[in-house]
């Protein structure tokens, strides 16, 4: 139960971060992507701030793993996606994702934060996004992976975000 509670708090803080940064607004995100227009570099500051804190956490996590210790909660292993090569699914997936992101200005985090408050996202974008994920799960994602990659190896790594 504590793991569920801390995961909820983590999601809540992530969502509040997106709200504070105004990255829940597709117009704001598209302003960053519009490099050749009225460019708004705000998103770079969001990533910079997030990266600075996360990089420290990664160092601490790796130090704990090296010392044979695990999570702060119950000592379970801290799971990082396994390192892998650059392959076609990685690049092709990033191209498709970038295309959709550039068309609408929404990625999965802001889509979920908007789910409860923006009807167009809740009724149209989010269901389509989940359908796209399920489509992947039941087609190419179904194939057992043999090459090394972040989702290869243990099930624990599947979908860990890398």
């Amino acid at each position: 139960m504590p793991a569920v509670l801390t995961a909820f708090v983590s999601g809540l803080v992530f969502g509040v971060g997106l709200i504070v940064a105004r990255m829940v607004d597709p117009a704001k995100v598209l302003g960053f992507l519009d490099v050749f227009g009225a460019w708004d570099p705000s998103l770079a500051f969001v990533m910079g701030g997030a990266l600075a804190v996360t990089a420290v956490a990664v160092r601490v996590a790796r130090r704990r793993t090296a010392a044979g210790r695990g999570t702060l909660l119950d000592g379970d292993p801290i799971r990082e996606p396994a390192a892998g090569g650059i392959d076609a699914p990685l690049v092709g997936g990033a191209v498709l994702f970038g295309l959709g992101w550039g068309l609408v200005g929404l990625c999965p985090g802001p889509a979920l934060v908007n789910a409860g408050v923006v009807p167009a996202v809740a009724a149209v974008f989010l269901p389509a996004m989940v359908a796209g994920m399920l489509l992947h799960s039941f087609t190419v994602g179904r194939r057992p992976r043999t090459r090394t990659g972040p989702n290869a190896g243990t099930v624990a790594h599947a979908g860990a975000g890398d």
Binding site: V4, A7, A57, V58, D76, R79, G132, G159, A160
Partner: protein, 141 residues
């Protein structure tokens, strides 16, 4: 440039980093939202509850923010319904195929100095910027 908001962007970014740090150090998990959501449908029994809890936290964030006295930013969804469906399908399918999205590759992956995440982040940023250029400046939408 009149809409540039560096301080709120930095503050929001620090909160996102705090969230990723919490999930990594306390739960032992990487905060990749497409992975957490996408794997909820296929994860084993013992691996589902924390995912749903994290996603519930994201959905609850506006309510908590407003309840704490914050003013929610205006959200302008300008894309047509057809474009929203196409964009949603592309974002969902692409993030799963590419093993991550803005959070998993762009924040957590880069913080881990992952070469895969660097390639993915540069690729989706460049593709998204090119898409906006075509839509706004070539098609003039």
């Amino acid at each position: 440039m009149e809409s540039f908001t560096p301080w709120s962007a930095l503050a929001g970014g620090l909160l996102i980093g705090l969230s990723a740090a919490l999930l990594l150090l306390v739960n032992g998990r990487v905060a990749g939202i497409s992975g957490i959501l996408g794997s909820t449908f296929t994860a084993g029994r013992g691996d589902t509850a924390w995912r749903i809890a994290f996603l519930a936290g994201l959905v609850a964030a506006p309510l908590a923010y407003a309840a704490a006295g914050g003013t929610l930013p205006a959200v302008a969804v300008e894309a047509s319904p057809v474009l929203l469906v196409a964009g949603g399908l592309l974002v969902g399918f692409g993030s799963r195929l590419g093993s991550g999205c803005t959070s998993g590759h762009g924040v957590c992956g880069l913080a881990r100095l992952s070469r895969r995440s660097l390639v993915a982040t540069v690729t989706f940023m460049a593709t998204a910027a090119a898409t906006v250029f075509v839509v706004r400046h070539l098609l003039g939408a």
